[in-house]
């Protein structure tokens, strides 16, 4: 049976690139995207960085213009989907309308984990700020512009990026992290330490192995008691304690969910004619021979494109090597591949000016690399690390250590 129509739930990055890709190959197919936000699909990285520090306007974040979607006949329905009936191939929107589908692509992204301080302190729980979309970013930006001190709960990427924006605007952030290092265990400790000192040099305070004992809100000031017996006084609390796949909609359905919607390497879910891509998908990665769920810009885009191709029947496995970045102050951190499965950790470079990269090597093969440096300084070698690991060639440790040896030569061997 030939395809007639594709419905997409969630109008984020994966959705936009899937729709664009479908149109490149098929001008006739109906494409409908269910959009619960008030914006056309937009990029989220600036929400914690350049949009807060006034370097990029919120209006500049769309991937494609309204004219583009109109001319390509990509239709938006500005409603959220409340339920999916996989048996009858029907979506039910928040206003109880039934929307039948032929093929379905799920790109509902991820949602923030939330703190809960118990029923007695519901007002405090409700007043904590989170960052996921443009509205959240605008609220955080306004709070920074009008106040001075902030507690950031959680020392992950988004929390640290907001802390960096706060310091860049001349304000102060206290980052409260219960783990032993920033950015979790995927980032090498040495890099986490560098990031920590960089924040401290710029006026932020990083509190590791720290838990909140109690929070009081009086006269618009939060008093936060910490397990190290100290007390912080701040104007706002922003939490970045991680996120999970946005799969609430599929609870109690037949769709296979396990840390996201489980898909194969062709973006196919457990339901026929139903695909998933981007943050929401826990996909099979043939190169690493394992399931993985990623929250990254480039993955959302490429995975959306891959889903589109597979919906069109091209049968192309998704084999992109995972890659992501985080920008804080004038530093750019990048991570490629997987950095937790290695027998050797090799350092290349020794200062932030020129960049420092840790290569994770197993049985002489690069598994992943993580680096940090002044803007632009680690990108080329990180990219080459990805290209080299794809070829599965054995590498010489001395070549990796020696910045004089261009990594391109390892590719050409």
């Amino acid at each position: 049976m030939s395809l007639k129509k594709i419905s997409i739930i969630g109008a984020g990055q994966a959705a936009a690139y899937a729709a664009n890709e479908i149109r490149k190959h098929d001008k006739e197919l109906g494409i409908t995207i269910f959009n619960e936000e008030n914006y056309l699909p937009y990029e989220r990285p600036p929400l914690s960085k350049d949009s807060i520090t006034n370097k990029k306007k919120y209006e500049e974040l769309s991937f494609f213009s309204k004219e583009f979607y109109n001319s390509e006949n990509i239709q938006f329905i500005n409603k959220s989907v409340k339920k999916v009936d996989f048996t009858n191939k029907t979506l039910i929107t928040n206003d109880e309308k039934l929307e039948p589908y032929d093929n379905l692509l799920i790109t509902t992204g991820s949602k923030n984990k939330k703190l809960n301080f118990g029923v007695d302190q519901q007002d405090i729980s409700d007043s904590i700020l989170y960052l996921r979309n443009i509205e959240d970013s605008k609220i955080i930006k306004e709070s920074i512009n009008t106040h001075k001190t902030f507690a950031i709960i959680g020392g992950g990427f988004i929390g640290l990026e907001v802390a960096s924006s706060i310091a860049q605007l001349g304000k102060k952030a206290y980052v409260i992290e219960m783990g032993q290092q920033l950015m979790g265990r995927v980032i090498p400790t040495q890099i986490a330490k560098l990031v920590s000192s960089y924040h401290e040099d710029k006026g932020n305070v990083i509190l590791l192995e720290t838990n909140i004992v109690s929070i009081e809100l009086k006269n618009s000031v939060y008093k936060i008691e910490l397990n190290n017996k100290s007390t912080l006084e701040v104007d706002f609390i922003i939490a970045g304690i991680g996120s999970k796949a946005n799969t609430d909609l599929f609870e109690n359905t037949s769709l296979n969910i396990n840390n996201g919607i489980v898909t194969d390497e062709f973006c196919r879910t457990s339901e026929e004619n139903v695909f998933a891509a981007g943050d929401v998908a826990n996909f099979f990665h043939p190169f690493y021979n394992m399931q993985m769920r990623l929250e990254s810009y480039q993955h959302a885009q490429n995975h959306g494109i891959a889903a589109a191709k597979n919906i069109l029947g091209q049968n192309l496995p998704y084999i992109h090597i995972p890659w992501m970045w985080s920008d804080q102050f004038d530093l750019n951190l990048q991570l490629i591949g997987v950095c937790n499965n290695f027998d050797q950790e090799i350092q290349r470079g020794n200062n932030l000016e020129e960049g420092i990269i840790y290569f994770f090597i197993k049985q002489k093969k690069i598994m992943g690399a993580c680096g940090i440096g002044k803007a632009g300084k680690v990108g080329r070698d990180i990219r080459l690390a990805g290209k080299i690991l794809e070829t599965k060639v054995d590498v010489d440790i001395d070549d990796i250590k020696n910045k004089e040896v261009k990594l391109t030569t390892l590719l050409k061997r």
Binding site: F63, Y297, W323, W325, N332, G376, G379, R383
Partner: protein
């Protein structure tokens, strides 16, 4: 400078420059990149149009330059931005080689 080179600025000697090398050239408070490709030399603005990062630190793959910061990609010969987050094209400039020296016209 010989007359035929009027309006052209000398970037560097040609010796030692390998295929897919990038040469950064600063002039008048602006920065440019000259690339050696299979069929000759090409030049673009030196800063990525997404955020102001030097493309000299990027990676040349065939006829494309990939930005080292967020992997935005541009076509070197036309300056066209072909992969986000880069979406604004780069300016390009004529390049020539004369007597073993590379020149750019800005």
């Amino acid at each position: 400078m010989s007359e035929i080179n009027e309006g052209w600025l000398e970037v560097s000697e040609e010796t030692g420059i390998e295929l897919e090398d990038i040469i950064r050239f600063d002039h008048d408070n602006k920065t440019y990149c000259v690339y050696k490709l299979e069929d000759g030399y090409y030049a673009t603005d030196g800063l990525c149009t997404h955020e102001t990062v030097h493309l000299e630190d990027g990676l040349v793959m065939d006829d494309e330059i990939e930005c080292p910061m967020h992997q935005g990609i541009f076509k070197i010969k036309t300056g066209e931005a072909i992969s986000p987050p880069a979406c604004i094209d780069l300016k390009t400039y004529p390049v020539k080689v004369d007597n073993g020296k590379i020149f750019i016209k800005i």
